[in-house]
């Protein structure tokens, strides 16, 4: 029986069998079903029950089920109040007879068809035993009534049991729209029961899996003797292991065991828990200096007195009584010593999150300015462009672009040097009032952009020295078009044309040779130009804003030119593959057309027929010209 509870007092009516919508005029029992309503406090319990006997029929019994599925009916229960229907419940009842089997058990095993003719079994979609698989039209357990339900959407193809569908070239297939002219003679007459693929899958051959040759070569520690470090080589320790310092991985998080590359500086901040804080490097690590000896660590402890600089009050993500502080240590590897500088301090604050900052810097002792060492004389991608200012007294120049930070206002913007090989675009926003004078604005913008360029010359190579003028190229400046004349729209407030708000730095470089196999790049020319915009004061609905923003940008573009054009190759040297019929003059595969299929100008069947008949004629001619053949003819025809 079924039961459900409803909230209010209703009358319940009951319909059996009809699928159309009924109204509130039925009865409490219909067919084999009864409806009982037991009212309760707030709810009524409605019970629908079957009154039939569901035993499977024994030979002499009556009032029993003849088949194992005894009841398949659809019921409707209506909740009505005052002849107005308020709710309807559909019940689809499918009840199986109680089958306690008392007869004989037959020993018929399931007949497995001959695998040669039915490699997937007679009905591959018959997956459940003794039940009808939906959408499987070849399932023998499906009764015709059930099959009618899903008749339109049977599985097609091999899975639905059609292991041998008729193909288009059969003479008996009528369904092709386009039959070629020769179709009556060259259609396949052999029946589908006897295709060459019978038993094809039955034998089944096994193939041993070939171990794929993909092996990521694990970079193990080299056992060879060291001849020195080149740029990018990992620094090795005395035990021939990598010298590791926690660094930031490409995914963003800090990895503890990242090797340090020679001449590659970095500066990372890693967050960690105080519980898992380690003091950094183990104290007995010695690194291989590349010339045979090993460098001892020189640990310098500095005590920080002004703790407040290192404790930062946390931002909005942490509660206020937790602090974040820095513990910094810097490794300076110069040519002779490895200095590790560690800072420590004691604090009585509640420390939860530790930010450790790891900095590795390579310093050459020979250059007292502690300028960065460059491994190759040419420029390396990522290194700052060397600049010089010949007009200044100390000849140091700088070429910078803006460093994005904070709100992006130009008044608080900082600079970052232009790095070789990295095209960049950065900018800041300038606040402009509505009453700004246009020429003043132009001057302001130009001055701000010019503050980025504090150089007159750019070094050709990474090791350009200040004493040699040939090592430097002059920056070509295309100054903005300074129009001092009265502009016709200069009297309009809030709009200024021709503001040189975009600075374009174009650096042209080229490959000029190689050192130890590594191509060296040199800067050939630098050009600085300005692009103008029209600035307009941005108003809201009414112009109540006092300032509007003008974005000014600086972009750096690196353009590679060939230092010399490549020597044009002679046709002898141009060595396209022999089978490239598009580019070669001589195309052997197309010449031997019927034997190879590269030519597509003529239908293959025609060419084959012509070729075969030609071969036949040639053969005939050869045979007939043979005197042996004429003798044979004469002797056999007499």
């Amino acid at each position: 029986f079924f039961s459900m509870t409803v909230e209010d007092f209703f009358n319940f009516y009951f319909y059996v069998g009809k699928l159309q919508l009924a109204n509130c005029s039925g009865s409490k029992s219909a067919g084999d079903w009864n409806l009982n309503v037991t009212p309760g406090m707030n709810t009524s319990k409605v019970t629908v029950s079957l009154t039939r006997n569901l035993q499977l029929c024994l030979p002499n019994a009556t009032d029993c089920c003849t088949t194992s599925l005894c009841v398949l009916e659809t019921l409707q229960v209506l909740a009505c109040r005052d002849s107005v229907m308020l709710a309807r419940l559909w019940i689809q009842a499918e009840i199986y007879a109680n089958s306690s089997f008392t007869g004989n058990v037959t020993e018929n095993a399931t007949i497995i068809p001959n695998q040669v003719f039915q490699p997937l079994g007679s009905c591959p979609c018959d997956l459940t035993a003794e039940a009808c698989d939906v959408r499987c039209c070849c399932d023998p357990e499906c009764t015709p009534d059930l099959k009618q339900l899903f008749n339109e959407s049977c599985f097609t193809g091999v899975f639905g049991g059609d292991v041998n569908p008729p193909f288009d070239q059969l003479c008996s297939s009528q369904s092709m729209e386009y039959t070629p002219d020769w179709f009556p003679f060259l259609c396949v007459q052999s029946s589908l029961n006897n295709t060459p693929f019978l038993g094809y899958f039955y034998h089944g051959s096994t193939s041993t899996p070939r171990v794929p040759p993909f092996k990521i070569p694990l970079r193990t520690s080299p056992g060879r003797l060291f001849t020195g470090y080149r740029q990018g080589d990992p620094i090795m320790t005395e035990e021939n292991e990598y010298f590791t310092v926690p660094q930031q991985s490409m995914a963003g998080q800090c990895v503890g065991n990242a090797p340090v590359a020679y001449l590659q500086n970095f500066d990372v901040k890693c967050l960690s828990n105080l519980a898992s804080y380690k003091e950094g490097l183990p104290h007995d690590v010695k690194i291989n200096s590349g010339t045979g000896d090993f460098l001892q660590q020189n640990v310098i402890y500095r005590t920080v007195t002004d703790v407040g600089k290192f404790i930062t009050e946390s931002g909005m993500s942490l509660p206020f009584n937790k602090y974040v502080f820095y513990l910094t240590w810097t490794i300076k590897i110069n040519d002779e010593n490895m200095n590790i500088i560690m800072c420590s301090f004691s604090a009585t604050v509640n420390i939860e999150i530790l930010t450790q900052r790891f900095t590795v810097k390579f310093i050459s002792l020979k250059n007292t300015n502690a300028a960065e060492l460059l491994g190759n004389p040419g420029y390396q991608v990522g290194k700052p462009v060397r600049t010089a200012n010949m007009n200044a007294s100390d000849t140091f120049g700088s070429l910078n672009i803006w460093q994005p930070a904070g709100r992006g206002l130009c008044t608080s913007a900082t600079y970052t040097p232009v790095l070789f090989g990295l095209d960049s675009l950065s900018g800041c926003t300038l606040e402009v009032g509505i009453n700004e004078d246009c020429s003043l604005l132009r001057g302001n913008v130009t001055e701000k952009l010019n503050s980025l360029i504090q150089a007159t010359h750019v070094g050709k190579r990474g090791n350009s020295s200040y004493s040699n003028l040939n090592d430097w190229v002059e920056i070509i400046r295309l100054d903005p078009f300074n129009s001092d004349t009265n502009m016709s729209s200069g009297n309009l407030k809030g709009i200024c044309p021709d503001i040189p708000a975009n600075l374009n730095i174009r650096i042209i470089f080229a490959d000029v040779g190689a050192v130890q196999g590594i191509p060296q790049q040199e800067i050939l020319a630098v050009q600085i130009s300005y692009s103008t915009v029209i600035w307009q004061f941005q108003c809201g609905l009414i112009c109540e804003n006092s300032v509007s923003f003008l974005p000014i940008t600086a972009s750096v573009q690196f353009i590679k030119v060939p230092a010399q054009p490549p020597i044009p190759m002679t046709r002898f040297q141009i060595n396209y593959t022999e089978f490239d019929c598009n580019r070669n003059d001589v195309c052997w595969p197309q010449l031997f057309y019927p034997l190879t299929r590269f030519y597509t100008g003529e239908p293959y069947s025609q060419c084959l027929a012509k070729g075969l008949s030609l071969a036949f004629l040639v053969l005939l001619a050869v045979i007939m010209n043979n005197p042996w053949f004429s003798e044979l003819c004469n002797s056999s025809l007499i």
């Binding site: 070239q169 003479c171 009556p184 003679f185 060259l186 259609c187 396949v188 007459q189 052999s190 060459p196 693929f197 094809y200 293959y604 069947s605 084959l608 027929a609 075969l612 036949f616 056999s636 025809l637 007499i638």
Partner: protein, 135 residues
Amino acid sequence: NNSYQLSSVPLQILFYINGIYYIFYFLATLAMIVYKSQVFSYPDDFLAPDLALLFIMAILEVLQLYLGSKGNLTEEEAPLALSLVITIGSVILSVYFLVWQTYVLKADVIINAVLLSTYGLESVLKVMAIAAFVS
């Protein structure tokens, strides 16, 4: 003049026609096998038996025609009988190409049917000729 000449003229004519027809049959079947191998997909080891049987059939045919013609013209029953036996082999092969081949095209059916009828007629005439020579 039948008393002096026991050789069967129809048989000889039939040998002649059979020879020419067989050349056409051989080339046509070869071309069709080549066509089938390009258009349909043959499982791996079905093409070789078809071609081998075709060439064996060609050899048998040459032998049969030669022996039969010689036997008929020299009025000896031994080569003619041998030719009859070889004809049976040819018939079997022709039935193979008609029914048991990997892919049977309608053109295959036609030319094999013609060949089989030729063989049938030939066999009848050979038996009659042997009977004539023996007696």
